[in-house]
């Protein structure tokens, strides 16, 4: 396999810790806002790396374009849903957590 393929693998491997840390944040953080923060931020970077890695390994522009589209859609969806969840939480008068 060529250099590009290896580079792609490295990128994908780089993306994994972000996902893991995002998930840990989702599970361990104290309140809904911090959890949202952890999830969306870390996962978006993680996904970025994975998409980058897969694009490097892709066998044509079609695939790359599709991967980029997926990335874009996930970005839009996650930021919008993050916003909506946070707004709903604020509406319900859930106080943001502060260090006790």
């Amino acid at each position: 396999m060529g250099l590009l393929h290896n580079l792609g693998t490295v990128c994908i491997l780089l993306g994994i810790p972000f996902f893991i840390s995002g998930t840990i944040g989702l599970l361990r953080f104290p309140d809904i806002y911090t959890r949202l923060h952890a999830l969306t931020k870390a996962d978006n970077v993680g996904l970025g790396f994975v998409v980058l890695g897969l694009s490097l390994q892709a066998d044509g522009w079609h695939t790359v374009a599709r991967l980029l589209l997926i990335w874009l859609l996930v970005l839009i969806a996650s930021s919008a849903s993050c916003h909506l969840v946070a707004r709903a939480a604020l509406r319900k008068k859930i106080e943001p957590w502060s260090r006790p």
Partner: protein, 348 residues
């Protein structure tokens, strides 16, 4: 590598029932529903692992997404109801019979319960044992492979769904139609679905995504002929667009005339049925497409069905027949939904 996948399979296979248990055991219904949606997504992953991409797509869109949305909206409706009740202080006046706590059910007849549980366990173990015992049966895989060339499509699942067993699918489209009919017969929808304003982000999102989703739906129907995809998957994506539009309370959606909606629901079933009849009129059997044009006919049926499936699923989400225009509303007469409220109010 195989081993790694084996472990993955094992974890997945264990996670599914665990999640199922958790969701039924959780006292909070909202949490249960969120777990249900995540279970649906894990199921979709399982379908991919079991090499059933068509099913995975349908599961993710319909099984997890739309069913989950249905559950959540039902829960919200119930919660809103109980809140209203509290506000009106009905709760104190309810009859005693209504106040029996669930615990009474739980504790009833522990012996019978234990016995039933034992019976269930025995039967499940028996099933498991017999599943493990069975030799691999024939299956219709080879038969499908042989006839695939004559089906007019290249995807095996689509060939089974729309050609070899097209009659099943015809009836299935009818089931969906029937569900919409049933829901419409029960009650009338109350728009907007959300109490609060949708807000700029949701509105923008919907404006961005809705056209894209319609395009994706078309793509899924088109690609269904050769790969994973088809009317149901495409229809589900259309329905998702519809649900978003409903949630964002877009004016256009509210102003769709009821007659047009009826036609939208009926288009797929009607066209499918007419195609079946045309096949008979052309001298073949029911649903026997002319061999050269089978592909085109299937695409036609699938496109119409996808539209209807989308409309139907979105209508199911809306949860009732469209409100009649005020001009036709006769004063003092109410639909069943409103009657029901009057009934509940009249009781105390």
């Amino acid at each position: 590598m195989m081993d790694a996948m084996g472990i993955f399979d094992m974890v997945l296979a264990l996670a599914l029932p665990w999640l199922g248990w958790r969701l039924l055991a959780s006292p909070d219904l909202f949490r249960a529903m969120v777990l249900f949606i995540s279970l649906g997504l894990l199921m979709a992953l399982t379908w991919v692992r079991l090499q059933a991409p068509d099913v995975a797509l349908a599961e993710a869109a319909i099984g997890a997404g739309l069913t989950g949305a249905l559950f959540l909206s039902a829960l919200r409706r119930l919660e809103r109801l109980s809140e209203a009740e509290r506000r009106l202080a009905f709760a104190g006046k309810r009859e005693e019979e209504d106040e029996i706590p669930p615990e009474r059910h739980r504790r009833a007849k522990p012996v019978a319960y234990g016995l039933a549980l034992l019976l269930l366990a025995v039967f499940v173990l028996l099933l498991a044992w017999s599943l493990a015992q069975t030799p691999a049966g024939g299956g219709l895989g080879p038969a499908v492979g042989e006839q695939l060339g004559q089906s007019g499509v290249r995807s095996e699942v689509t060939a089974v769904l729309l050609n070899f067993r097209g009659y099943d699918t015809l009836l299935e489209v009818m089931v969906l139609f029937l569900a919409a009919l049933g829901v419409w017969s029960l009650t009338r929808v109350r728009l907007p679905l959300q109490d609060e304003e949708p807000g700029p982000v949701l509105a923008t999102l919907v404006r961005l995504l809705a056209p894209l989703m319609i395009m994706v739906a078309g793509y899924l129907v088109w690609i269904g002929g050769s790969r994973a995809g088809g009317a149901f998957q495409g229809g589900a994506v259309l329905a998702a667009a519809g649900v978003l539009l409903l949630l964002a309370n877009v004016t256009v959606v509210r102003q769709i005339p009821a007659a047009l909606l009826r036609w939208g629901l009926a288009l797929g079933p009607l066209l499918f049925l007419l195609t079946a009849v045309v096949c008979v009129a052309a001298g073949g059997n029911l649903l026997e497409y002319p061999p050269q044009r089978a592909g085109a006919w299937i695409l036609l049926i699938e496109s119409a069905s996808a539209v209807s499936i989308g409309v139907t699923l979105a209508a199911l989400y809306a949860g009732g027949r469209p409100p009649e225009p005020p001009a036709q509303d006769r004063g003092g007469e109410q639909g069943p939904g409103r009657d029901a409220d009057a009934d509940a109010g009249g009781r105390q």
